[in-house]
Amino acid sequence: MHPSAKVVLFALCMLPISWLIYRVASNGAGANPQEYLIRATGDWTLRFICIVLAVTPLRTISNTPQLARFRRMLGLFVYFYVVIHLLSYSWFDMGFDVADIAKDIAKRPFILVGFLGFLLLTPLAATSFNKAIKAMGAKRWQLLHKLVYVISGLGLLHFFWMRAGKNNFAEVFVYAAIIAALLGWRVRQYLIKKKSAAQTIQARAAT
């Protein structure tokens, strides 16, 4: 793959936030720009979760192992967008009033679930460098990063609950279907692997 591919991808990942800032700065974000920013950064967090979960299936199916080197950056962009999402909420909705935020987290289950997702994502982002993998050992590092499945579930639940007030689940189901497909693929891979391993053992026993 071309050496500049990573730079191009980085620029692409910055496009959504640049677009959002441009829309707000040019008064194109509607009557409630604060709400627009909070919701759009939430949408982009979910989208980046879908994108990062798609890397491994895409790599295997298309037989392009080079894709693996983009996964870390895409994962960090999930964190980038969720941090802006949380900051927008804390700032625009709550005026950085910690007591108000704490009350709101306790009061609204969907905020609690979203916040929990952010908390779980933090150690993943914090261990996104080679030294961390070495220090933790690849096995434990991998186990920790399996948390992304829990996090995507929490993200979906957060979105589902937020939309529950208006019974408006069409978009939620689209994200749920994408994430379910990406996880389903992994389950299938796991079962195939297990089956072939069992067959190898059987074959050995027969000889």
Partner: protein, 332 residues
């Protein structure tokens, strides 16, 4: 636009309405320039009209509907009026979609001519009014009200209409009538989201008789000096400034008088979240969010803190006595 005659007496000008000296001077200069003929006759007439304009500028999009000065207490707030663009592009009108930009995009299909409103139920004078007759029933007044949405945002809107009590007096409700029900249009042909599962259609709202008789309860036909845009509930809607916005039914086709508390749309959808009264109350939170504060649309900067929500949306002096002795935590 406020039309003021000598009969209205002396009118105090709000400080926000006073034109800054610099703007006045530059306007004078411009008019002098025009009067010399440099800009032509057509522009000169435009300039003289501009010089007379009051606090509410007509957006010039729809037919004019002027409202006279109101004598009702609390009828005119002096707060900054929300931009017409914000008031017409950020709406909750689920018949046209649940996103707040949807009504502005989709409501052009609504047919408001011909329109009639049926008065039914426990009244001595049941009757179907054409919109034209209804508009002429009482003098139109301008009412500049705060509007507080249950979702936690607010606007200031100059409505045009008259007190619903004027209509109620004309139709003579029976003494057994205790509630007024507002049934709104549910036409799947012109309203694309009628039939969505969010709410039961038609959208129905209701008031207790004494609430409906309160002079602030407005039967509205216009805003910003023009007839109502479709997305804001054309051609006739209720405006109840002390209640959350959803209590004010849009595009009303039927007003029914009854002795039983009617089942209202949001109450049917989620009784624990939306009570019959739904008065603005910063001390009673929505089960899923706080009602203590609100964001004034279009006014504060991006990073401004939300403003505190007022009891009865600031109309406590006018409507508080309607609820004297009631437990507002139970009757939310």
């Amino acid at each position: 636009m406020l039309i003021k005659t000598n009969a209205n007496g002396f009118h105090h000008t709000a400080s926000s309405e006073i034109t800054p000296l610099s703007a006045y001077q530059s306007r004078r200069d411009l008019m002098k320039l025009m009067a010399t003929g440099a800009a032509g006759a057509a522009m000169a007439s435009w300039a003289s009209r501009e010089a007379m304009a009051q606090s509410v500028d007509k957006p010039g999009k729809l037919a004019a509907l002027a409202g006279g000065k109101s004598a009702v207490a609390g009828a005119v707030t002096m707060e900054k009026i929300t931009d017409y663009k914000d008031a017409t592009t950020y709406n909750n009108f689920y018949e046209f979609g649940t996103d707040k930009a949807d009504p502005g995009k989709n409501a052009h299909t609504l047919v408001t001519k011909p329109w009639s409103v049926a008065i039914e139920g426990m009244v001595k004078q049941p009757k179907s009014y054409t919109l034209e007759d209804l508009i002429k029933l009482s003098p139109q007044e301008e009412r500049i009200y705060r509007l507080r949405c249950v979702e936690g945002w607010s606007m200031v809107i100059p409505w045009v209409g008259y007190s619903l009590s004027e209509l109620i007096k004309k139709v003579e409700p029976l003494s057994s009538a205790k509630y007024v029900e507002f049934v709104t249009l549910a036409d799947p042909k012109t309203m694309p989201f009628v039939g969505s599962r969010v709410l039961e259609w038609p959208y129905v709202e209701a008031l207790r008789m004494d609430e409906a008789m309160h002079p602030l309860a407005l039967l509205s036909f216009g805003m910003y000096g023009e007839v109502l845009p479709n997305q804001n509930g054309a051609p006739v809607r209720m405006v109840l400034p002390w209640k959350y916005g959803f209590k004010s039914g849009k595009s009303i086709v039927k007003i029914r008088f009854t002795d039983k508390e009617p089942k209202t749309a949001w109450n049917k959808a989620a009784a624990s979240e939306y009570g019959f009264y739904s008065n603005v109350n910063p001390n009673v939170d929505h089960p899923r969010w706080s009602q203590a504060s609100e964001r004034r649309i279009g006014e504060d900067g991006l990073f401004a803190k939300k403003r505190k929500t007022l009891m009865f949306n600031g109309y406590e002096a006018q409507v508080g006595q309607l609820y004297a002795g009631m437990d507002l935590k139970k009757n939310f």
